[in-house]
Amino acid sequence: MENTKQGTGQQEVQLVAFKLEGEEYAVDILSVQEIIRWTQITRVPKAPVFVKGVINLRGTVIPIVDSRERFGLPDQEVTDTTRIIVCRLEDAPIGLTVDCVTEVLRISNEQIEKPQVVNGIDNQYIKGIGKIDGRLLIILDLTRVLDIDLHKA
């Protein structure tokens, strides 16, 4: 929770919200570098299963994490709305596939609750649950979601 507080200097955080299998998720906007459209992915053999491969992001090769594979959700065809959220993790870019990006929103820290049980997704990836206008946002802990080594070992 510390990170999110630092972000705005107030009791408020800015989030990028996206959809996965009908559920709404969000990540801290400060760790997001950019959002790009789907592009051709080169498979990397022997990498962890949830690493979909690598892409060419303007001359830099970056790995892509498949969020559906990561969270054990069923596979789905790439659609027009499929996006890759490029995040910065330990100062190196890494991408996360999502069904569609919905919006950027502000939410105060009081509206965020400690994670309870969320269906389908392992608790370890969740930083909190954001409640806004009756909607529930699952706020992801990117450092854990994108930690490739965690499962490799």
Binding site: V44, P45, G53, V61, L89, I94, L146, I148
Partner: protein, 661 residues
């Protein structure tokens, strides 16, 4: 003024100057009569002093100042060079280097009092105090034909006939003076009221452009006495007349033959001006941060990718004029790419240059006589390789001097030249650079290597019995192996050659050695020209493309499914009577797809001593590829050396043969 922003620049340039001093001192030690070298040393020391003073680094200013004093006296032949003095000067250079390192590390440097004291002793000790006056006496000078050309000589002659006097006037401008050019101009103006200035050194235009240190010389023909001249100079502030001498022409002497010798003395203190001018025209260079070059390289890469897209668009939409333009762009981007790649190439000279000094010191410490021969300094390597190769080479050279060469006494007993030879050579061979370190010392003793290997527990005697000579020799690259009987300061701490090998392998290079007992040892390092760009063979497997570094490939051959045989579960083929084990890329890389091709290809690659055939569906072609890493998060996957972005923007994986099979 905040000078911190110039700190990097200062450090780099200072280092260069220190290197310069070092090198020229070394040369000077071997050719003590080469006064031009002394000038070079002096010039570098002086530049260094100036820069340090600007940056407010007093320790360096003081030390270089002291050095300068000695050098100056050497130039004026008030001191003679001797071994002690060289050692002292070399020590000062080391001290300078250390101070620069300190500054780089963010500390405040301090000059060693001992060195300062020695320098001072040298400066004072051997000069009788009255010598100063003898040299700078006000008496007439020896005629200096060499200084003047025919025309000027004529002028002097005419002047003499008309009872005018020619004065050689040396003007000194205050160091702190901000507008030297203006002061010099005032000097000229005032002197011209007295007579005619027929010569100035440096040239008038250089003086006006402030291209002089803090003094310059003019020759004035006038009827006025010396006092008048003094008066004219005195009224200009920040300027002192250092010297005013009458020039007398020797009528009998008209020849200009031995010009150099005479000029030399005179030009001493101004030499720096001339030399630095010359240098500026020779190398006009700009220092560029390597990261900027990397960025440039990336941008060019992107340009290439977009160019390919344009080509694709033009092939689907026919448009008059578009094709032509795209071809033009094609040419330009190709040129651009090669230029940018070339910019990253640096000559190996800057690595080699540090070795003469190192070898000299080593030889001195070890009581050996060494003749270091450097060859192929101009060979170029990628910047990143240059930075990494220095340490391994230092190790190899130290080893050569310490372990390889015998002491002079031993050598004489062996009827060898007392002076040992160490040859460091570099040359380009195709896409590789071969660096060799060779000496004519005692050579490696196979028996003692075996002995050592057993003692250090690397090998058992049974294992050794089975090994051939090259494999035994290669044991010296194993960690924890050292042949030195006693641990010396120089080498023999058991870390050395294994570090050398791992470093060179990290640069995707190889190191090998040859030795002949009693005749010496030769280490050969083979490095790729650049680590960033390699030649690769692009191969297709189902729908995927992989790159295989050309350096690993021996040959390619066609292969029909019928040729594949099974021996004990291992698929093989017969190539010119030899059994070649096969590895299917489709399997090891788990490539999806079920297409079955009748016609396959085997890419024969080397792995150590063995050959393996990599089976692929198709050969796409040879290509120069830029290696990118898979990123921090995915590095170290077995079988994958990295990724490369292809012309169409797709990413293709580069196979790492060493870990693949």
């Amino acid at each position: 003024m905040d000078v911190n922003q110039y700190l990097d620049l200062f450090l780099e340039e200072s280092m260069e100057n220190v290197q310069n001093i070092n090198q020229n001192l070394l040369n000077l030690e071997n050719n003590q009569d080469r006064f031009d070298l002394l000038d070079e040393v002096f010039r570098s020391a002086h530049t260094l002093k100036g820069m340090a003073a600007t940056m407010g680094i007093d320790a360096i200013t003081h030390l270089t100042h002291k050095m300068e004093n000695i050098l100056d006296k050497l130039k004026q032949r008030k001191l003679t060079l001797n071994d002690k003095m060289f050692t002292c000067l070399f020590k000062s250079v080391d001290a300078l280097e250390n101070m620069l390192e300190e500054i780089r590390a963010g500390n405040k440097p301090c000059a060693s009092g001992e060195i300062m004291a020695t320098l001072e002793a040298f400066e004072k000790g051997e000069i009788p105090p009255d010598e100063e006056n003898k040299d700078f006496g006000s008496g007439a000078m020896v005629p200096e034909e060499g200084l003047f050309n025919e025309y000027e000589k004529k002028l002097l002659q005419v002047a003499q006939e008309r009872n005018l006097t020619a004065w050689k006037i040396k003007i000194h401008v205050d160091q702190g003076c901000l507008m030297k050019g203006v002061r010099a101009f005032m000097v000229f103006r005032n002197l011209e009221t007295l007579g005619e200035i027929i010569k100035a050194f440096p040239s008038v235009s250089d003086i006006e452009d402030e291209k002089f240190d803090d003094s310059f010389m003019v020759v004035l023909i006038t009827s006025q006495p010396e006092e008048k001249i003094q008066d004219q100079i005195r009224i200009i502030s920040e300027v002192i007349m250092e010297q005013c001498e009458e020039i007398k022409l020797d009528d009998g002497e008209t020849g200009n033959a031995d010009a150099d010798g005479t000029i030399q003395d005179f030009e001493d203190s101004k030499h720096d001006v001339v030399v630095s001018d010359k240098k500026q025209t020779v190398h006009q260079t700009v220092r560029v941060d390597i990261t900027r070059l990397d960025k440039l390289m990336n941008l060019v890469g992107e340009l290439v990718i977009n160019k390919t897209r344009l080509e694709q668009i033009s092939s689907t939409n026919t448009m008059i004029g578009l094709n032509e333009t795209i071809e033009q762009i094609n040419r330009i981007t190709t040129d651009l790419q090669s230029v940018v790649q070339n910019v990253r190439m640096v000559s190996i000279e800057q690595v080699f240059n540090r070795f003469p000094r190192m070898v000299r010191d080593l030889a001195r410490d070890l009581g050996k006589e060494v003749n270091l021969i450097l060859e192929g300094k101009e060979t170029e390597l990628d910047r990143t390789v240059i930075d990494e190769i220095a340490d391994p080479l230092v190790h190899l050279i130290r080893n050569a001097v310490d372990h390889g060469l015998e002491s002079p006494r031993e050598r004489i007993a062996l009827k060898k030249n007392a002076e040992g030879m160490v040859r460091l050579s570099a040359k380009q061979e195709g896409n590789h650079v071969i660096i060799a370190v060779e000496e004519d010392g005692r050579g490696l003793d196979l028996a003692s290597i075996k002995d050592r290997a057993i003692k250090s527990g690397l090998m058992t005697s049974a294992q050794l019995a089975d090994m051939d000579e090259p494999s035994i020799l290669n044991l010296i690259f194993e960690p924890g192996f050292s042949t030195a009987k006693a641990v010396t300061d120089v080498s023999g701490r058991g870390v050395g050659l294994d570090v050398v090998r791992s470093k060179i392998q990290a640069l995707s290079g190889q190191v090998s050695l040859e030795t002949k007992p009693g005749q010496g040892t030769k280490f050969t390092v083979k490095l790729p020209l650049t680590v960033a760009i390699i030649q690769a063979l692009m191969v297709g497997v189902q729908d995927e493309t992989f790159a295989i570094p050309l350096g690993n490939i021996n040959e390619t051959t066609g292969l029909e499914t019928g040729d594949i045989k099974n021996i004990q579960g291992q698929q093989v083929m017969v190539l010119r009577g030899q059994v070649l084990p096969l590895v299917f890329i489709k399997n090891v890389m788990a490539v999806p797809g079920e297409r079955v091709a009748e016609e396959l290809y085997a890419v024969v690659v080397r792995k150590g001593e063995h050959q393996v055939g990599l089976v692929v569906d198709g050969l796409i072609g040879q290509q120069e590829i830029v290696i990118s890493s898979l990123g921090k998060h995915l590095s170290g996957l077995p079988g994958i050396a990295g990724a490369s972005i292809l012309g169409d923007g797709r990413v293709s994986l580069i196979l790492d043969i060493a870990t693949l099979i």
